[in-house]
C-alpha cells in the first residue's frame, strides 16, 4: 500500500486512494453488467429454450443499456404513506454494503483498494449491512407485502450469516491469516503432499466449506431456492414492491453486484484468487495484468453457478429454509472447522 500505484508516479495518499476507489467501482459495475447480460439475459434464455434479447446490438448485447435507460426515464414513485426519507436512502444502504465488500478484494499484487489486516472479517461484516437496507425498504414502504418480505429477509439473512462465517473459518485456519492477500499467497505457495504443480487451492481441502459457502451465498443473495423475501408468486416482489425508476435500478444493481462480490470472495478464498501457482514462475509484473483477468473469470463463472441454481430449483418455504441453515449447514460447518483444526495440527 505504501508503494505508489503505477508507472513510478509519486502520488499523494488521497490521489492514490481516489484512483483505487474509482477503478474498484468501475470494475464492479462492469462485472455486474457482464454478469447480468451473460446470465440473466442469455444463459437463462437458453436454459428456458428461448433466445432472450436479440434486437439491441448484436445478440442483444446493448440490451442492458436500454434497460438502464428505461429505468432512468421512469417516474420515481414514493407512496403517500411511505416514510419518505428512509424509503429514499434504503437502496443506497443496500448498494453501499456491496461496495464496501468489494473494497478489500484483491485483484492483483497491488490492485486492492484497502489491504486490511482483517480483510475477510471486514467483508463478512459489511455483507450483513445489506439486511438493514432491506428492512428499511420493507418498513418504510408502508406496504404489507413489503413488510412481510423484509421480515422474511431479516430472518433469512441473519440465519445464513452463521454458515457463511463458519465455512470461512476453515480457510482462515488453513491460511493462518484473515488478510485476503495472505490467503491468496497461501494458496499460490502451497503444496499438495509436496507437489507444487497447482499450488494448493483451498477448494480441494475445504470442499465442504466451499459448498456451504456457496449455499449460504445463494441465501444471502436471496436467489431461488432461497428467494422467499422476493417470492414474486406470493409477495409480488417483497421489499421491492413499491420501488420504481432509479431506486429500483439501485436495488437491482445491488442485487447483482453483491453476487459478483460474493463470487469474487469465493474465488479468492477457495479458487486461488488472482494469483497463479508460484511454481509457474510468473513474475509480479505480468501478474499486474493477468491477476484482474484471472479473478474476473473465476468470479463470473461462480456467478454462473448461482444463476444455474436460481433457474433450476423451486423455492423453499420459510421454515424449511431455517431448518436447512440451523439443522444442516451450521453443524456441518462446525464439524468442518473441527476437522480442519485437527488436520492442521496433524500435518
Amino acid at each position: 500500500m505504501s508503494q505508489s500505484l503505477m508507472l513510478g508516479l509519486e502520488l499523494a495518499y488521497w490521489q492514490e486512494t481516489t484512483i483505487r476507489v474509482l477503478l474498484g467501482l468501475v470494475a464492479l459495475l462492469l462485472l455486474t453488467g457482464a454478469v447480468v447480460y451473460l446470465y440473466l439475459f442469455k444463459f437463462v434464455s437458453f436454459m428456458q429454450s428461448r433466445l432472450g434479447p436479440m434486437e439491441a446490438g448484436p445478440h442483444g448485447s446493448l440490451q442492458l443499456l436500454a434497460e438502464v435507460g428505461k429505468w432512468l426515464q421512469k417516474e420515481d414513485i414514493t407512496t403517500d404513506n411511505a416514510d419518505k426519507f428512509i424509503f429514499g436512502i434504503a437502496p443506497a444502504v443496500a448498494l453501499a454494503s456491496t461496495f464496501l465488500m468489494f473494497v478489500v478484494i484483491p485483484a492483483g499484487p497491488n490492485a486492492v483498494v484497502a489491504d486490511l489486516g482483517t480483510g475477510i472479517y471486514f467483508v463478512l461484516a459489511m455483507s450483513s449491512l445489506s439486511v438493514i437496507g432491506i428492512l428499511m425498504a420493507g418498513w418504510a414502504s408502508a406496504n404489507k407485502y413489503a413488510l412481510l418480505g423484509a421480515l422474511r429477509a431479516g430472518g433469512q439473512l441473519i440465519a445464513y450469516e452463521l454458515p457463511l462465517i463458519l465455512s470461512v473459518v476453515g480457510v482462515v485456519i488453513m491460511a493462518g491469516s484473515l488478510n485476503l492477500q495472505d490467503i491468496v499467497a497461501a494458496q499460490a505457495d502451497g503444496a499438495i503432499f509436496g507437489w507444487t504443480g497447482i499450488g494448493n487451492p483451498f477448494i480441494l481441502t475445504q470442499i465442504v466449506g466451499f459448498t456451504v459457502f456457496l449455499i449460504a451465498v445463494q441465501a444471502e443473495l436471496t436467489q431461488t431456492p432461497f428467494d422467499m423475501p422476493i417470492a414474486e408468486s406470493e409477495l409480488v416482489a417483497g421489499y421491492q414492491v413499491e420501488y420504481s425508476g432509479i431506486r429500483f435500478l439501485v436495488f437491482f444493481i445491488a442485487e447483482f453486484a453483491t453476487a459478483v462480490a460474493f463470487a469474487a470472495i469465493a474465488s479468492t478464498l477457495f479458487l486461488g484468487g488472482w494469483d497463479l501457482p508460484a511454481s509457474w514462475g510468473i513474475g509480479d509484473g505480468a501478474m499486474h495484468v493477468i491477476g484482474p483477468i484471472n479473478i474476473s473469470i473465476k468470479a463470473v463463472l461462480l456467478v454462473g453457478v448461482v444463476f444455474w441454481a436460481r433457474f433450476s430449483l423451486p423455492r423453499f418455504r420459510e421454515d424449511q429454509l431455517q431448518q436447512l441453515a440451523w439443522k444442516f449447514l451450521i453443524p456441518i460447518s462446525l464439524a468442518n472447522i473441527v476437522l480442519t483444526g485437527v488436520m492442521k495440527v496433524v500435518f
Partner: protein
C-alpha cells in the same frame, strides 16, 4: 359453507387461540392481507382476503365476481349456434371442451345424434383441449413454487398442441367448432400423422416435468402434506375432476356417466391418489395428461369414416323441454342445464363450472396454513378465473 368437520373445528379453535395469545403477550394484532384481485398467483382476478397472525392464516375468504361477464344471461338472447362463441371463453385454456356439453344438451333436446365420425373427432378435440389446459398447469405449478423454467417448457410444448387445434378449427384459443348435429369441418389432410408425433412430444414433456419438479426434493417438501382435503370434505364441497380424484374419490364423468362421446370404446384408466394433498393433485393431473395422449393415439388409429354432420334444419329451433349434460372438462365436471320454450334462443341456461365449486373450499383449506402455502394450495386446486366467474 355448512360443512363442518372435526379438523376444521380444531383448526378454527387453534387459530382463535393463536390470535388471543399474540394479543395478550406481545400486544400485537393480526393483519389483513388482501391477495388480489390483481396478484400474480391468482392468474386472473380472484381476490382472497386473508387475516394473518404473523405469516399464519387465521381465516381466508375468496371473493369472486371481478370478471363476471354474465354469460348465462347473455345466452338467453343468443341463438343456439351463437352461444358456443360465448362459452368458448369460460375456461379459456381448454375452450373446445366448453362447447361440447352445451351442444350435447341441445342435441338431446332436439333428439339429434351426431354421426360416429363427428363423435370421435369431438372426443379427440376434447382431449386435445385437455392437453392444452393441463400442460400449462404442470408448468405453472412450478412458477408458483418459484421454479420459472418449467413454465417455459410448458408453453413451448403446449404450442404444438395448439398448432394442431388451429389446423383443424382455425382458432388457437377459441375454436367455435362444434355444431348441433356434428362438426363444422372434417380434419385436414395429414393431420392425424402429425398428431401422433405431437403426442410423443407431449409424453416427453411429461417425463421432463416429472424429472424437473417431482424429482426435486424442494418441490416434494413444498407440496407433500400441504392442503390436504379428506375424501368426505371433498364430497361435501362438491369438488370434481382431478381435485376430487386426488382425494381418493373414484369418479370420472368420462367413465361413469358418458354422454355422446366415445370414451367407453377407448382403453384408458382413471387415476386416483389417496393423499389428497397438493402433490396428489399435481400427480393426478400429470397422469391425466399421459392418459389423454394415449386416448388421442387410439382415436387417431380407430377413427371411423363417414359424414361429420347429421341432418339438422338450417334455422335451429330447439323443442320445448329441459336437459342437463355434464362432461369431464380439464378443470372438473362441467354441465349445462338448458331450459327451452321452443324458441330460437334458450329460455334459461345454467352453467355448472368446475372451478367455482373447486375454489369454494378455500376458506376451509386455507385456515391455519402459512402464506407460502396459500399459493401452493391455490395453484394445486387449479382454477381458471373465467371458469369461476363466467
Amino acid at each position: 359453507m355448512t360443512a363442518v368437520t372435526d379438523r376444521q373445528k380444531l383448526q378454527y379453535i387453534a387459530a382463535k387461540a393463536a390470535d388471543a395469545r399474540v394479543n395478550v403477550e406481545l400486544e400485537t394484532e393480526g393483519m389483513t392481507l388482501n391477495i388480489g384481485p390483481q396478484h400474480p398467483a391468482t392468474h386472473g382476478t380472484l381476490r382472497i382476503v386473508a387475516r394473518l397472525d404473523g405469516e399464519q392464516v387465521i381465516e381466508a375468504e375468496p371473493i369472486a365476481g371481478y370478471m363476471h361477464r354474465g354469460y348465462e344471461k347473455l345466452a338467453e338472447v343468443r341463438t343456439y349456434p351463437q352461444i358456443t362463441t360465448l362459452v368458448n371463453r369460460i375456461d379459456w385454456l381448454g375452450s373446445f371442451a366448453n362447447e361440447v356439453p352445451f351442444i350435447l344438451a341441445a342435441e338431446q333436446l332436439m333428439e339429434v345424434e351426431a354421426p360416429p365420425r363427428a363423435q370421435w373427432i369431438r372426443t379427440l378435440l376434447f382431449e386435445m383441449s385437455r392437453l392444452g389446459n393441463l400442460i400449462l398447469f404442470l408448468g405453472d405449478m412450478g412458477v408458483q413454487l418459484g421454479a420459472v423454467t418449467p413454465a417455459f417448457y410448458a408453453f413451448r410444448d403446449r404450442e404444438f398442441v395448439l398448432d394442431q387445434i388451429e389446423r383443424v378449427t382455425g382458432g388457437r384459443f377459441h375454436p367455435n367448432f362444434d355444431r348441433i348435429g356434428g362438426l363444422k369441418d372434417d380434419l385436414p389432410k395429414g393431420w392425424l400423422a402429425d398428431t401422433k408425433s405431437v403426442m410423443n412430444k407431449v409424453r416427453d414433456f411429461c417425463d421432463e416435468i416429472e424429472e424437473l419438479l417431482m424429482g426435486a426434493e424442494i418441490f416434494t417438501a413444498r407440496t407433500r402434506g400441504i392442503g390436504v382435503i379428506p375424501k368426505d370434505v371433498a364430497q361435501q364441497y362438491g369438488l370434481s375432476g382431478a381435485n376430487a380424484r386426488a382425494s381418493g374419490i373414484d369418479w370420472d364423468v368420462r367413465r361413469d356417466n358418458c354422454v355422446g362421446l366415445v370414451y367407453p370404446e377407448l382403453d384408458w384408466k382413471v387415476w386416483t391418489h389417496p393423499d389428497g394433498d397438493s402433490f396428489a393433485r399435481f400427480w393426478v393431473r400429470l397422469q391425466e395428461v399421459r392418459e389423454a395422449t394415449k386416448m388421442i393415439d387410439q382415436i387417431t388409429d380407430g377413427l371411423p369414416s363417414g359424414p361429420i354432420m347429421a341432418k339438422v334444419p338450417r334455422i335451429i329451433k330447439v323443442p320445448a323441454g329441459e336437459a342437463y349434460v355434464a362432461t369431464e372438462n380439464p378443470l372438473g365436471e362441467m354441465g349445462y342445464y338448458i331450459v327451452s320454450k321452443g324458441d330460437l334462443t334458450p329460455f334459461r341456461v345454467k352453467i355448472r363450472s368446475a372451478s367455482f365449486n373447486n375454489v369454494s373450499i378455500t376458506p376451509w383449506i386455507l385456515r391455519g396454513v402459512y402464506v407460502p402455502d396459500i399459493i401452493t394450495i391455490l395453484a394445486s386446486l387449479y382454477f381458471i378465473l373465467g371458469d369461476i366467474d363466467r
